[in-house]
Amino acid sequence: MSEVLNPLLVLVLLFNFLMLGTSRVAAVINAAAAQGTLLGVAYLAMHGGSGVRALALGLAMIGIKGIAIPRILRGALRSQGIRREVEPFVSFTTSLLLGAVATGLSVLFARTLPLAAGDAEALLVPASLATVLTGFIVLTTRRKALTQVVGYLTLENGIFIFGLTLIEAMPFLVEAGVLLDVLVGVFVMGVVIDHISREFSSIQVDDLTELRE
């Protein structure tokens, strides 16, 4: 199992680095989309054969995270006319290094966890922790609301990877519900961002400290 899964998870981790290192918002969105698609593929690779429900969930994952959400975000990107994250709170190089430290620590930490033999072999737990931490870093260090939404999405990707370890225990309904929540969440945030940018003529989160009528 881990022969198929590990290369996929390494790619997921590389997309984390891409997300932390690039200044183009479009590239960040694409990286999150690719990550979502990869996770859908990983889910299918693990459980695609085990029934229609698993197949449906895997395909829904690819459809929602790989196609639908990125489309909403790209639409928001176009309507705002921004292309780059200018001057984040922490420079791109530093956030890349932070991401690397986070990845290293996740690997170290995962070693100390009492995991089932199959899960310890695969990279699932370190990849999930690293992706969650990457999501946190993106959420906290970027100025554009749109990038922060992507950070939230990455966070959810990390949680999904963790869910892959519990796949036998986790009911289908819960996972489908989470997926739907994320879609609705991103949808709402897309609308909110649109309103913010119309109201304040910018989506810099710094500018949101003062209230106006």
Binding site: P7, V10, F17, G21, T93, A100, G104, R111, L123
Partner: protein, 304 residues
């Protein structure tokens, strides 16, 4: 390794590099829709330079003369440590990968010193950039070699890449792929290729390697260019030997496969150069740090 084999190895390390440059230039020309110069053009250029006289500035000293000579000498020595088509390099001992890295370091030191020796401010800037970027490329180089050291449990280049590489890919495919990627970035950075430096640019302000050669002329310039091309060849050879499993057949077959792989790498470099723009100088360290992180990540995957 017979003495004859070592001589053949060294001859190849001196004679082949211009062809690699020719392949890169031809690829770039084709991508741009031009016919391009003949594949052997770099040889003609070198022959022309070697038949010219030398102009020496009065501010220069022997250091200026030593720069290109040391560059060629160190690159030739380093080539002896890397196996080309053969199973083991002419020279190999435990720890030779450190010598390999710092032979190029020595060559670079003298190239930079020769540039500073002219007293030109442009050349000083070029030297400063070369030194900075290579300092950042060094951890990436060592970390990617370290990935191989961990897999192979050997400290010599011949031990790392001499054996059958397909076994390496089978046991640790992902970390080795990351190391190769990182090594490719190092290759581009160390040899001043796009996206780090444009070898054909005409603006001294943005050059790195070429600006250090502004005051060299005739045979000295020829030697400096040959040294740079040798460095490209030797580092490409290392990457090829890591990345491409050579067929386990008779010697000539292995050599043919090796040469084909080197020229293919030349085409790849040409493609990268035609499809990418040069990075802004401020973004260069970022890419090199990312390359170091890639191989460090590969290492973490191995030792976890």
């Amino acid at each position: 390794m017979t003495p004859l084999g070592a001589i053949a190895h060294l001859a190849l390390a001196v004679l082949l590099p211009p062809l690699l440059l020719g392949v890169i230039q031809r690829t770039k020309a084709r991508m741009a829709g031009r016919r391009g110069a003949p594949l052997l053009q770099p040889y003609y250029d070198l022959a022309k330079l070697f038949s010219k006289g030398i102009v020496l500035s009065r501010t220069t000293t022997w250091v200026f003369l030593a720069g290109p000579v040391v560059a060629v000498a160190t690159a030739s020595l380093a080539s002896l440590l890397v196996p080309f088509g053969e199973k083991a390099a002419p020279v190999s001992f435990a720890g030779d990968l450190v010598l390999f890295a710092y032979l190029f370091g020595l060559g670079r030191f003298f190239t930079v010193a020769a540039a500073l020796d002219t007293g030109s401010s442009f050349e000083g800037m070029g030297g400063a950039r070369e030194a900075t970027f290579s300092a950042l490329a060094e951890p990436a180089l060592f970390l990617s070699l370290l990935v191989l050291v961990i897999v192979r449990q050997s400290f010599s280049l011949s031990g790392l890449v001499g054996e059958d590489q397909s076994a390496l890919w089978a046991t640790a495919g992902v970390p080795v792929a990351l190391a190769c990627l990182s090594l490719f970035v190092v290759l581009l950075a160390e040899n001043s290729r796009i996206p780090f430096d444009d070898p054909t640019t005409h603006l001294e302000l943005t050059m790195i390697h070429e600006v250090m050669l502004l005051d060299h002329s005739g045979p000295l310039l020829g030697l400096a260019l040959l040294g740079a091309a040798q460095k490209l060849l030797v580092q490409s050879a290392l990457l090829v030997r890591i990345a491409v499993p050579l067929p386990d057949g008779p010697e000539p077959l292995r050599w043919a496969a090796f040469l084909a792989a080197i020229l293919a790498l030349g085409v790849v470099i040409g493609l990268v150069e035609s499809t990418m723009a040069r990075l802004r100088l401020r973004q260069v360290p970022m890419l090199l740090i990312a390359a170091s992180l890639l191989s460090a990540f590969g290492m973490v995957l191995l030792v976890r």
